[in-house]
Amino acid sequence: MFMVKGEYANIKNLLRVRLKTNAKSFKWILILLGLFVFVPFVGTIVGILQSNHVRFYNIGDFSLTIFFGIGLRYFVLMLMYRSTNDKLSVYPQTNNSRFISSLLYNFIEVFALAAFVLATYLIRYIIVWVLTLFMDNVHFALDFDLSFIIVGFFVYVAYSLLIVATIELIGVILRKWTYYAIVGFTAALSWMIANFSTVIENLRLRISFPSNVLAFFIEESSLINFFIKAIVLLVAITAIAVVINRYTVYYKNQGRSLNKGVVLGCIVVAIAVMVVLPYIFFVRPIYMTQTTGTVTEGAIIPVDDFFSGFEEIRIDISHIPNGSNIEVRVENREVVAEVVTGARFFSNTHMNISGAESLRNIQGDTLIISYRPSFFQANGIMLADFADSQLIANLDGNVLFVDYVIENVQVVFLPIWGMARQFDFFNDRNIFRTPIIGISAGGNITPNVWLRVE
């Protein structure tokens, strides 16, 4: 339906030429990306080997970086469609074979980039895993899950191909109906920005179209449904683009000066793709952490059952006369943890004390300190889970010093396929960063240390 006699062979040959002629430049792209990944990673390894205190290494989700890179690269290539293809103009080709071979080449490149992301993840994982064999205090924050790695790869490829196909469709529309397309895309962009302001006001609020269209994908929790939707949409977008391109005269503007309308349209679409869409795609509720140690006054007096899961320290205060006060101090510590790369939310204070009022005008002989692991965390990861945190409490005169003692751990946060977290299939697995329970937006922290006198 889409091809005439000989076109299939022509597409195949053009694709071979594109692969051969672009191999060198693509190789350099991979080398540069490799340096971008592995040079900081060398720093991580050196840090792990040399560190003598708690450290958190956020290596970051390279797949998301590359995903935005893919969007940017193919948007630029879409703008450069003519100049790119002029480099192959000496070879016989049709409008159809030119476009389809270009599209297939882009798809192959996307697949190669996804494979590269996977390879960089596996190499880094294996290196750190080897370290864990020799160093007991090195931990992965997230688990290695083979089914997630494989399925996530195809989810990533599906998202990337959809983005590339959409960009190609935009390019075809711009080339076919330049002025109408500019008007249309400008109107769409304006409308999106108008809706976008609503998104800013409430991060959880999903506005109608186009976010509903996006939600059709990004909120699909069934893997099978997602892949069905992705394949159907990919085929549909590609087919529409091929058909529109088929009826576009490629050489119509040859010899004419640069079309300012096209340039303007491209800028508008560029803004849409690079600024607005990423926000709509990836805006997520932000989980806040409190950044200073607090002593909570007037907290609810706990009942005994409440403390069933708590560790407990008992201190004899019989030598302190009833009616006296005990002052509580969270010791001034030096920095007990560092976040090496990419930290957004981090607190080196990990204690929220409740019940301090019970130490005023004391009536009893025993001070009971009930506690749970510290809030010691970075980037939403509870480092205390790895650090085997223990509370220490010393009574010096009528001053109570409390603090957590944390084991020297090196926690490596090496995530991948961050965009695949939408699926039920991956629920209840430690493969994504999960929010810290008990800490809510606005800075309130559920106490983890309770004081009472009996």
Binding site: V4, K5, G6, E7, N10, N13, L14, R16, V17, K20, T21, K24, S25, D86, K87, L88, S89, V90, Y91, P92, Q93, T94, N95, N96, S97, V249, Y250, Y251, K252, Q254, G255, R256
Partner: protein, 298 residues
């Protein structure tokens, strides 16, 4: 003889400029046609339309009996190359040759490599490292090695030195003899091309001025030298395409077939008759009288 190329009232405009106006030409199978014209005369525009790389405004352009644009049946039978083909500048020559070999069915890789060695080119050279002349050589040898039934070379010798140009023409003629096909060569240097051409297509300001075989063109005009009055008397009822009168020497170029009768008639009026070379004829047919403007420059 089969007509490989046939255009009828072909027109092309760029904005308000008429690049081609009512161009009706035909090019025979297995001929070597020189597409001759001054800079900006429309040679490249015509070739690009024939190669399916430019949309025409009006008229008809048939190659192998069909419209060339987006027509693989036609495009697969032709190669169109020019002196500054826009390959990726960082490509090695061997990579570019790979592309030709992958796509052109008749491409002779062995022949291409022999030509590379002959012209001191190596596959490891980058296209951007080539001088204008070397780039022209490379594009020329690529096109020739395609052995396409229709080979179109747009200004193929631009930048080549005289020795290389002569080699290139010799190779072109020899390869044509071994593998006859239709070749169109555009140039404004007819003197060097003349010996290998079978036909000449002269265009000026987008219009066809001459479209004939070289032999016919050689016979199509002659020059007469003599006194101004004798020339004036002889040329009164003839088509004069060039005339110069002065006290020392006067001559005129008559656009008419040079027969024995014509020569006899001119001699009777005290005129000397001499042939006009095709290149001179092309110059006379396309030059504009700017002598007055030339004098104003100083």
């Amino acid at each position: 003889m089969n007509k490989i190329v046939k255009t009828t009232n072909l027109c092309k405009t760029f904005g308000k400029k008429h690049a081609l106006s009512d161009v009706s030409v035909s090019i025979s199978e297995n001929s070597i046609t020189g597409l001759i014209g001054r800079n900006g005369s429309g040679k490249t525009t015509l070739m690009r339309i024939l190669a399916g790389k430019l949309d025409k405004a009006n008229g008809e352009a048939l190659v192998f009996g069909k419209e060339p644009m987006d027509n693989l049946a036609v495009l697969n039978k032709m190669v169109y190359t020019y002196h500054n083909v826009q390959y990726d500048q960082n490509l090695h020559l061997k990579t570019i040759l790979f592309g030709y070999e992958a796509i052109f069915l008749n491409f002779d890789g062995t022949f291409a490599n022999k030509l590379m060695r002959y012209f001191d080119l190596t596959g490891k050279m980058k296209y951007k490292s080539l001088s204008q002349g070397m780039a022209s050589i490379f594009n020329f040898l690529c096109a020739l090695s395609c052995r396409a039934p229709l080979t179109m070379l747009d200004e193929p010798v631009l930048g080549m030195d005289v020795t290389v140009r002569k080699s290139a023409y010799e190779i072109l003629l020899r390869d044509y003899t071994e593998h006859p096909r239709t070749i169109i060569v555009s140039s404004h240097l007819l003197s060097e091309l003349e010996s290998i051409l079978s036909d000449i297509l002269l265009i000026d300001n987008g219009r066809v001025v001459l479209n004939n075989s070289v032999d016919d063109i050689r016979q199509s005009a002659y020059r007469i030298d003599g006194t101004p009055s004798a020339i004036g008397g002889y040329a009164a009822d003839k088509k004069v395409i060039m005339q110069k009168k002065s006290e020392l020497s006067s001559f005129a170029v008559i656009y008419e077939q040079c027969t024995e009768a014509v020569i006899e008639s001119a001699k009777k009026q005290g005129l000397t008759v001499s042939p006009v070379r095709p290149e001179e004829l092309c110059v006379f047919l396309t030059q504009q009288n700017k002598e007055a403007e030339l004098e104003c420059l100083w």
